[in-house]
Amino acid sequence: MPERAAIKAEAARLRGLFEAAGAMPVEASILQPAEVLLDLYGEDIRGRAYVTSDVLRGEQMLRPDFTVPVVQMHMAHGAEPARYTYAGEVFRRQEDDPERASEYIQVGYEIFERDAPAASDAEVFALFHQMLAPLGLRAATGDIGILMAAVDGLQTSDRRKAALRRHIWRPRRFRALIDRFSGRATVPESRAALLAADDPMAGLAPVIGLRSKAEIAARIKVLREDAVTPPISANEVALIDAVLGVRETSGYALERLRDIAVDLPAISGAVDRLAGRLEALAARGVDVEALDFEASYGRTQMEYYDGFVFGFYAASRPELPPVASGGRYDALTRQLGQGREIPAVGGVIRPGLVVALGGAS
C-alpha cells in the first residue's frame, strides 16, 4: 500500500488539474444524513456504507461518495453552469472482499450544465482520459439512456414499462420481468388461482398492518388488467437483447445500434445522442475508433447513472477496482431537487490506485 502522504499529494495534484480546467473546489461533510442516501439507493446502501447514529440527528452515514452532497449544495445555491472539484476520503463497508479498501480518497469533477450535454460528457471523459494517459488504462464506456429508450419504445402497457425501467439497474430482475411480460415464464399456480377466482377477497384473513384492503383490491385489479395485456412479442424481446448485446468499438457499436433502430425507432434519439457524443469526443482528441462501447456497461453499478457511463481499468491488474469511473446522472438531480432538476455529469479518480500503478504525472 503506497504511503498516505504520497496519495494525498497525488489527490492535491489531480484536484489542481481539475481546478485548472475551470472547476471550483468544494468540501463536503463526512457525516451525511442516512435518510437521503437510503431513499436514493435503497436498503442495499447499508451493505456498502457505514451507518452510525446519535439521539439528536438520528442515523448518519460516513459519506460513501461526494455526488449527493455536491448535488445538494449545487441545488441549494449554485450558479449555472457550474464545475466543481473535490478531494477527500470516502468510506465503503466491505463484507465480502477483504482485499478491497474500506476507506480511500476520491478526487472528483462534476459539471452542471443544461444546454450541451454531449459537449459536457466529452469534456469530462476527455479530461480524465488525458490526465490518466500515462497509466495506459483501458477505457470502458456505455450509455444507459439507450436501454431506457428501448424500454420506452416497447409496444406494451405503461405499467410494464415503468416496472422494467425501475429494474434497469438490476439485470436479473429485469430479465425475469421480460420473461414474464413476454409470456416465456410460466404463471405461478397461486397467481393463476387468484386470477381465476370470482371473488379473491372472499373469506379474507384479518387485514393487519398498514397495507389496506383497498390496496390489495387495487393490486388485484392491476393483475387482472396485466393478465389480458398481450405479451411483448418475441421480436421485441430479440431487439432488447440485441441492444444489450452491443459490445464493439464505438464506430461499429454506433453502426450496429443504427441497424437496430430501423426496427426499434424509439432508440433513434438516444443513438443520435451517442453519435453527437462521439463527435464531441473526437473533437477533443479522443480516438473514438479505438474506444470500447458496451450497451449494458454500468447496469450493476450505483443506481444513479442514466446516460453516458465510463470507467478506466488497469488491464495488467484485473483484481483492482476501476481507477476512475463516472457518468451522467440527470435523474439523481431530479430526485434530490424535489421538482427542480439540472442535467449533470461527472466522475471520480482514486489517487491511491494511481500511485499504486506508478503515478500519472
Binding site: 451493505g47 387468484l194 384479518p206 398498514l210 388485484i220
Partner: protein, 231 residues
C-alpha cells in the same frame, strides 16, 4: 493448552448437543449449580467445555478463542463476513432445524412470490411515502437475499424478538424470521412467500480456522474427529 469446545449454555440446544456428543462417547455436562456456567468433558482427554450463548459462538470461532463450536448455520452466516474462510463446517447435528423465511400478512392474497413482494413494495412506497418495512434480526442475510433476487423499495427494521407481532402493531409490513413449523406465523395471520426461503438452518459443529493447534492439540483433534465419526 487444551482444545476448547464452545457449546450453547442453555435450553434444548444445549441438551441436544450434549446428547449428540454423548451418543458418540464424548460425555459433556454442566458441573456445579444450574446457575454456574462451568462444564466437564469425559471420554476424551485434553478437551475443555466452554459454555456460551449460541449467538457468541461465531465470533469466538472467528477470533480463534475456541477451536470447536456448536451453533446454527443462520448465526454463522449472519455474523461472519466470508464465513467459510474463518470456520470449517464439520458436521450438521440433525437438530435445531429452523428456516429463515419471508412472511407477509395472510390477507395479502395478491402476494405469493418475491416478484409480487417487489411490485407491492413499489406501490406501497408510492401510496405511503416511505419504503415498505420488513422486520428482522437477520439484516445481512435478508438484505443479501433480497438484493440477489432484485427486490427494491423496502427497508429493514430491527426486531430482536416477537417479530411476528410487528405487522399487527404496524411497525412493519412484512417479516423475515426463523420458523420451524410456521405455527407462530400462522397464529399471527402471516403466510410464507413461495420462494421466500432465505436459509435452511440447523445446529452444526464448526471448527475455527484461526485457533492455533499445537502438536498435542492436533492429536486431540484427530481423536475427537474419530470419535465423532468425522472424516
Amino acid at each position: 493448552m487444551s482444545i476448547k469446545l464452545g457449546v450453547p449454555s442453555k435450553g434444548r440446544l444445549m441438551e441436544k448437543t450434549f446428547g449428540w456428543f454423548g451418543d458418540r462417547g464424548v460425555v459433556l455436562g454442566r458441573s456445579g449449580s444450574d446457575r454456574e456456567y462451568a462444564g466437564f468433558v469425559k471420554g476424551i482427554g485434553n478437551v475443555e467445555l466452554v459454555l456460551l450463548s449460541a449467538g457468541e459462538v461465531p465470533r469466538e470461532l472467528a477470533a480463534g478463542r475456541i477451536h470447536l463450536g456448536v451453533t446454527g448455520t443462520d448465526l454463522i452466516r449472519e455474523k461472519l463476513g466470508q464465513w467459510n474462510t474463518s470456520v470449517k463446517e464439520l458436521a450438521p447435528l440433525g437438530f435445531g432445524h429452523a428456516d429463515l423465511v419471508l412472511a407477509v400478512p395472510a390477507a395479502w392474497v395478491d402476494v405469493n412470490t418475491l416478484d409480487d413482494l417487489d411490485a407491492v413494495a413499489a406501490a406501497f412506497r408510492q401510496a405511503h411515502g416511505f419504503r415498505m418495512r420488513i422486520a428482522t434480526k437477520y439484516h445481512r442475510l435478508v438484505r443479501d437475499f433480497l438484493r440477489d433476487h432484485g427486490v427494491a423499495d423496502y427497508q429493514l427494521v430491527d426486531s430482536q424478538g416477537a417479530t411476528e407481532g410487528t405487522v399487527k402493531f404496524e411497525t412493519a409490513e412484512a417479516v423475515a424470521d426463523i420458523t420451524s413449523t410456521g405455527d407462530t406465523l400462522r397464529a399471527n395471520h402471516l403466510k410464507l412467500l413461495e420462494d421466500g426461503l432465505v436459509l435452511k438452518s440447523q445446529a452444526t459443529l464448526y471448527q475455527s480456522v484461526a485457533a492455533p493447534l499445537g502438536q498435542e492439540n492436533r492429536e486431540t483433534m484427530r481423536a475427537m474427529r474419530r470419535l465423532l465419526g468425522i472424516d
